[in-house]
Symmetry: C2
Subunit: 97 residues, 2 copies
């Protein structure tokens, strides 16, 4: 199956009912990186998983980081992987204070 | 890049601002087929595209079908591909009237 690069994956726990959270995260990332992302895949999982991967590499794992990502932080992490020269505007300014 | 099977793709036109429509469709399908779908990929496209593919095969194309899918119809089309024995309840009853 052909995928579009760069591919971002969001694997979420269906038992925890995190589909809406995953869907919202996907839409936020696709709004910000509309020309830089090849695709965002929503992947149903189990056992409390909420993992975000770019090209197969973890950029956020709820279990490792002990919580959900702040969206501004997540956008910076994704930006660093797929568009390192991109200025995220107020996101960057807020987090550098 | 490893994908999860069955893979459903929604390619949408960013210029037409159909991300919300695509995101809503993805979430509806993942709600209905939470254990039958391996992943749903949202793919930014251009030029008025709104295509839904399962395992690479078109199940709905806005340009071919001259419009957007009714969600109940789309669920039946997806069901026929990935879970043909699955009864969709009121969706099947409404459309067989």
């Amino acid at each position: 199956m052909t995928t579009r690069q760069p591919r971002l994956e969001i694997e979420y726990c269906t038992q925890c009912r995190w589909l809406m959270r995953a869907g919202w995260t996907a839409q936020e990332l696709l709004t910000t990186f509309s020309t830089e992302l090849g695709e965002v895949a929503l992947i149903p999982g189990t056992g409390g998983v909420f993992d975000v991967r770019v090209e197969g590499e973890i950029v956020w794992s709820r279990k490792e980081q002990d919580g959900f990502p702040d969206l501004a932080v997540l956008k910076q992490l994704v930006r660093d992987r797929i568009a390192p020269d991109r200025d995220l505007g107020h996101v960057d300014r807020r987090l550098s204070r």
